[in-house]
Symmetry: C2
Subunit: 378 residues, 2 copies
C-alpha cells in the first residue's frame, strides 16, 4: 500500500471517522482507524460497534487530484496517534506507505513517522444494509429534527428504550419523539418515501448527536435506509451506521393534551432569560423548580424561593393570556431546554391546570411540540 | 445602604474580585464578596486569605455618572450567586439596597432578587501594607515577566518554596527566577526604584497567574510595594495583595553554565513544531523524552522511539551549528514550555555536553534565559 494525499482532505476524513472511535472498547482493533486504498481512492472507517462511520476520499474531485495512488492495500492505524499526527504534519501533502506487512511509514516535509499498524483483515465488517426502501431528507432539516428532540432522551439506563429517539414513518411523514418520562419533545416533517412504507424504530440519542456533528450545514439530500436492527445515513462520501435499540417504545400520543384551559403567548427570548434568572437561586436547592403565576394585565410572574439563600421575582408582559388564572411549578431546566429547541420569536404555552402536563409550541406551527410535566409543590 | 450602578462596571469589578474567591475555604464569609459604599463610590473585595483583590468603582469617571449613591453602608453577598446574577440582569442599571440589616434587594428592569447577606463587620481586614518603598513596572512588562517565568514553578509541595517565583531587586534591576529543579526560567528588567533598595522574596506562582489574568493589556505603570510577608500590586482602581512564601530560595546562579561546547541557532517556530511532532508518540511512553542530534550540513535531528508504538524522525535545518557534535535527550514538554515563553523568531541553544544543563535564549537578548536539565537515556 502506498499513496500521496492532500493533507487537508485526510485531516477532515480522519476527524469525521474519529467521532465513532472510543478508547473504552473491549475490542482492541476498534481503537484504530481502518484505511483501505483502492484504485478509486481511500476509504477510512472508525467504529465503536454501535456506531460505524465510513469516509471516502476520491482520487480526484472537480478535476483536481487529491490522492496519487501508487499501490493499493489496507492497514489499521492507532486512531489517537494518527489523528493528532495528521493535524500537525508540516507539509500540504502526506505520503503513507506500508512496508513489511504492518510497518507503516508516514512522510510529510522533513518528518517521518514509523507506526506499527494492525492487520486490516481483522477489522470487523460493517453491517450489511440492503437498500430496499430509501427515503430522503435535506441535511439541515435532519439536523434541526435531531437538535429539537434528542436533548429530551433519558440519560438513565433504567428504561434503556427511553435513551433513544422514536422515529415513526407513516403516510410520507416522519415523526421524531423523545421523552425521559418527565418531558417530551416531538417534531414532524414530510419525507420523500414510497407512500406504502412505514417504520417504527428507536435510534440511540448518542448516535444522532454524533451524526449531527459530522453533517455539513447545507440542504443536500441525505439518503436514509432502515433495516431490522440498523439505520444507515448516506451523505456525499460519508456513510453513518447506527444500531437500533431493541424493544417497544411507549405510546406517547395519549400523553399530549388536546385541549387547554389557559393559553399564554410570550416573547421566547424574554421568557427564557426570566426563567434563567429565576432559577439561579433554585439551582442550589435540590430541584431547580420555578413557579409561574398569571397576574392581572397580561403580567406573568416567574419566581423561586430558596429559604436559606433568598428569592427572585421576575415579571414579564405576555402578548396574550387567555382562559383561567393559573399558578404552576415546573423544572426551570426542562423549560429552558424546550425554549432553546423551539424556533420562532414568539411561543404559546398551553396549560390544562396546575397538575397536568402542558405544551409549548411556536405560534402558528404545529410541526414541533415540547411537553413538560409540572412539579407538585404544595 | 442603597445605590444605583451601571451594570457593566459592576460586572467587570465582580469578575475581577471573583479571581480571589474560592468555594474551598475554611472561613465561610470568604465565599462572599464584600461591598462597601462610601460617598466616593463602591469598593468590592474578594479574598481566599492568600490572595485578596479590591476593586473600586468611582462615583464618576470622565464626567459620567457610574454610581448614584443614595445611602452609604456595607454588606457581604454570596459570591457565586451574585456574580452569576449580575451578568444576567436585564437592564443597563442595577439598584442594590440593604433593608433590615442583612436583607438585600437587587432590582434591574422587572427582576427583583432578595438575598440574605452576611455582616460586613465580620469580613477579615485586608493586610496593612506600609507604602515605604514603591517601585513601578509597566503593566505589559509585568505580564510578560510573569508569563515567562511562572510556568516553571514546581507543582509539588515537597519543597513548597519552589512553588513560588523568586523576585530579587538590586541595583535598579528586577530578577524573576522560577525552577522546579528540572528546569529554570529567568527574566530580568530595569525598574524604577530608589537605587539603595533591595529585596529578595518568593511570590506564589498561583498568585502571579491570577494577577496576570486581571491586569489590562496596556503599558500603564503598576505600583508595587513589598513588605515582610506581603506584596501589593496597585493598578488603576485595583489593589492585588498576595502573601509571600516563607523560607530561603535556593541560590540558582551556580546552576547556569557560563560557557558552552555546542551552540545551535534555530527558527523558534520550526523547532517547536518539530519537537511537538516528535513527542506525539513519546507522550504514551512514561517520560515524554526526545533526542536531539547534530548531523552534517547544519541538520539537526529530533527523534523519539516508543518500541510498542513506533518512532518519529524530524530533520530541521539550523541557521548555524558551532562547536562539538552532540547527542542529547530531554523532556519535550520542558522544551516546548521554554520555547513558548521566549520571544523572538530565532533562538540559540547552548549545550555543554550531553549530561550538563543547557540554556535557550533569544539571539542578542540576555534579559531572558531558559535552562533545562537533560535526561540520561543510556
Amino acid at each position: 500500500m502506498r499513496f500521496i494525499i492532500q493533507r487537508d482532505h485526510l485531516v477532515q476524513s480522519v476527524q469525521d471517522v474519529m467521532k465513532a472511535v472510543t478508547s473504552r472498547t473491549t475490542i482492541p482493533i476498534l481503537t484504530g482507524i481502518k484505511m483501505v486504498v483502492s484504485d478509486e481512492g481511500v476509504t477510512l472507517t472508525g467504529s465503536d460497534s454501535d456506531v460505524s462511520i465510513e469516509s471516502f476520499i476520491p482520487k480526484e474531485e472537480d478535476d483536481k487530484e487529491i490522492v496519487d495512488i501508487k499501490q493499493t492495500g489496507a492497514i489499521v492505524l492507532q486512531a489517537k496517534f494518527f489523528s493528532e499526527m495528521v493535524k500537525k504534519l508540516p507539509s500540504d501533502t502526506v505520503e503513507i506507505e506500508v512496508q513489511n506487512h504492518l510497518q507503516t511509514v508516514i512522510r510529510s516535509g522533513n518528518s517521518e513517522f514509523n507506526l506499527i499498524g494492525l492487520d486490516a483483515d481483522e477489522y470487523p465488517h460493517l453491517p450489511q444494509v440492503e437498500e430496499e426502501n430509501i427515503f430522503k431528507i435535506p441535511t439541515d432539516l435532519l439536523k434541526a429534527m435531531i437538535r429539537q428532540t434528542s436533548f429530551a432522551v433519558s440519560t438513565s439506563e433504567t428504561r434503556p428504550i427511553l435513551t433513544g429517539v422514536n422515529w415513526k414513518i407513516e403516510n410520507n411523514e416522519l415523526n421524531c419523539i423523545a421523552t425521559d418520562s418527565h418531558r417530551l419533545a416531538l417534531r414532524k416533517a414530510k419525507v420523500e418515501i414510497d407512500s406504502a412504507a412505514h417504520y417504527n424504530v428507536v435510534i440511540p440519542g448518542k448516535s444522532l448527536n454524533e451524526l449531527s456533528k459530522i453533517l455539513a450545514d447545507n440542504n443536500e439530500l441525505i439518503d436514509i435506509v432502515i433495516t431490522e436492527n440498523q439505520i444507515l445515513f448516506k451523505a456525499k462520501h460519508l456513510l453513518f451506521f447506527s444500531r437500533l435499540l431493541e424493544g417497544n417504545y411507549p405510546d406517547t400520543s395519549r400523553l399530549i393534551p388536546t385541549e387547554s384551559k389557559t393559553d399564554v403567548v410570550l416573547q421566547t427570548k424574554e421568557f427564557l432569560q426570566a426563567i434563567d434568572r429565576a432559577s439561579l437561586l433554585a439551582r442550589e436547592g435540590r430541584n431547580n423548580v420555578v413557579k409561574l403565576s398569571t397576574l392581572e394585565d397580561k403580567i406573568v410572574e416567574i419566581s423561586s424561593n430558596t429559604p436559606e439563600v433568598g428569592k427572585v421575582v421576575e415579571e414579564i408582559k405576555a402578548l396574550s393570556v387567555e382562559g383561567e388564572e393559573l399558578k404552576i411549578s415546573f423544572s426551570a431546566k426542562y423549560m429552558m431546554d424546550a425554549l432553546k429547541a423551539l424556533e420562532g420569536t414568539e411561543i404559546k404555552v398551553s396549560f390544562t391546570g396546575a397538575m397536568r402536563p402542558f405544551i409549548i409550541q411556536p405560534i402558528n406551527d404545529d410541526s414541533i411540540l415540547q411537553l413538560i410535566l409540572p412539579v407538585r409543590t404544595y
